[in-house]
Symmetry: C2
Subunit: 212 residues, 2 copies
């Protein structure tokens, strides 16, 4: 399954040959069929085992958190990047976006088990912040999508056009600035108070030369 993940991420579903998966795994193609009844089943297994555990971690972060909503937001963003963005698991979302129309069943599975739970999590964080008055009130469903979009987009970019890009994106700076722009867009009233809402600095891998 590790071999399959590598190759699926690298070449996409259709372009991955089972002979190659078998070769990389150090077994014969026949052996694959002792464990997975078809290429599609192998694909599903890879997706399932790789992603589902991660979403659960995020849900735990939310339940256990005590502090500002902005701090929690920050914590989720950076721990997500650490465990997904920076690992080979980061290729899965790209894979899913590319293939979900051709495999609606897997698409639905991924949506139900990963995406919708991620959405619910982020929306809860925002609603918490709105209720407490830390964020101004807005449609949490759309706000949630607007916060997640640049995060996932960074992942997709990394696995697609990044190789063309002369200016490689520094993920930490990108996420840092995203938070900065989003928080200032979310905060009510004056802007100055926002510096007090970053108690989570400890867990982030914040750069010294942070952009103002």
């Amino acid at each position: 399954m590790a071999a399959a993940l590598d190759l699926f991420v690298e070449r996409g579903y259709a372009a991955t040959r089972l002979d190659d998966v078998a070769a990389r795994a150090g077994v014969s193609k026949g052996t694959l069929y002792l464990y997975f009844s078809s290429k599609e089943e192998l694909f599903k297994a890879v997706i399932r085992s790789g992603i589902v555990p991660l979403i659960e971690r995020g849900e735990r972060l939310f339940e256990e958190h005590k502090g500002t909503a902005a701090g929690l937001l920050r914590e989720i963003v950076f721990s997500w990047w650490e465990s997904v963005g920076n690992t080979k698991l980061g290729g899965i979302p790209k894979l899913m976006f590319s293939e979900c129309r051709n495999f609606p069943e897997i698409g639905k599975f991924y949506y139900d088990e990963v995406i919708s739970r991620g959405h619910r999590l982020m929306q809860s964080v925002l609603e918490t912040g709105m209720k407490s008055g830390e964020f101004r009130s807005m449609d949490a469903n759309y706000a949630m999508r607007l916060i997640l979009a640049p995060m996932v987009f960074l992942l997709l970019w990394r696995h697609s056009f990044d190789f063309c890009d002369s200016k490689h994106i520094d993920a930490d700076r990108y996420l840092e600035q995203h938070l900065d722009m989003i928080i200032n867009g979310l905060m009510p009233r004056s802007r100055e108070q926002n510096n007090s809402t970053q108690p989570a600095k400890v867990i982030s891998m914040e750069k010294k030369g942070r952009i103002r």
Copy 2:
């Protein structure tokens, strides 16, 4: 080429059969080879002819604009959605993200002719606003990416997981809220002044029931 665009967008590159393209175009497969020397050449031609004209329109908007940077931003966002998001051309970015690793040559072409020009355009808008003091000063390269990401992401979503999503996204509300969050994140000092920076309302298809 219209037939090919339809099918590429609908099924992806690998899953599109030239027999089907020919059938939809109302010609025989042999005829395709009188005009395109290979499937890959057909793909390139589709991408080239579909997208390049659009970017030029955006560049013209920038050059001709007189008004606030926020107004220009708004105008670009909505006219982009009108001419790309709402048409079948909207499938091309999804296609490019999915396939650019398998066709680095096309990926490079797309990056050079479309993405980098789009980046430059948006970055210019932001820098204009920063110079005039309308926006607070920040790294324009990252800000540009953070503004474009949710826009492109909406397109990708529409062509991938949207079919799973029970709550269909209203593109206008989404973009409206994006602008609202971004502008308020970009504006210096007090939040109240931002309502004066929407002279571009005319061209947008703004909904009455806008989210506050």
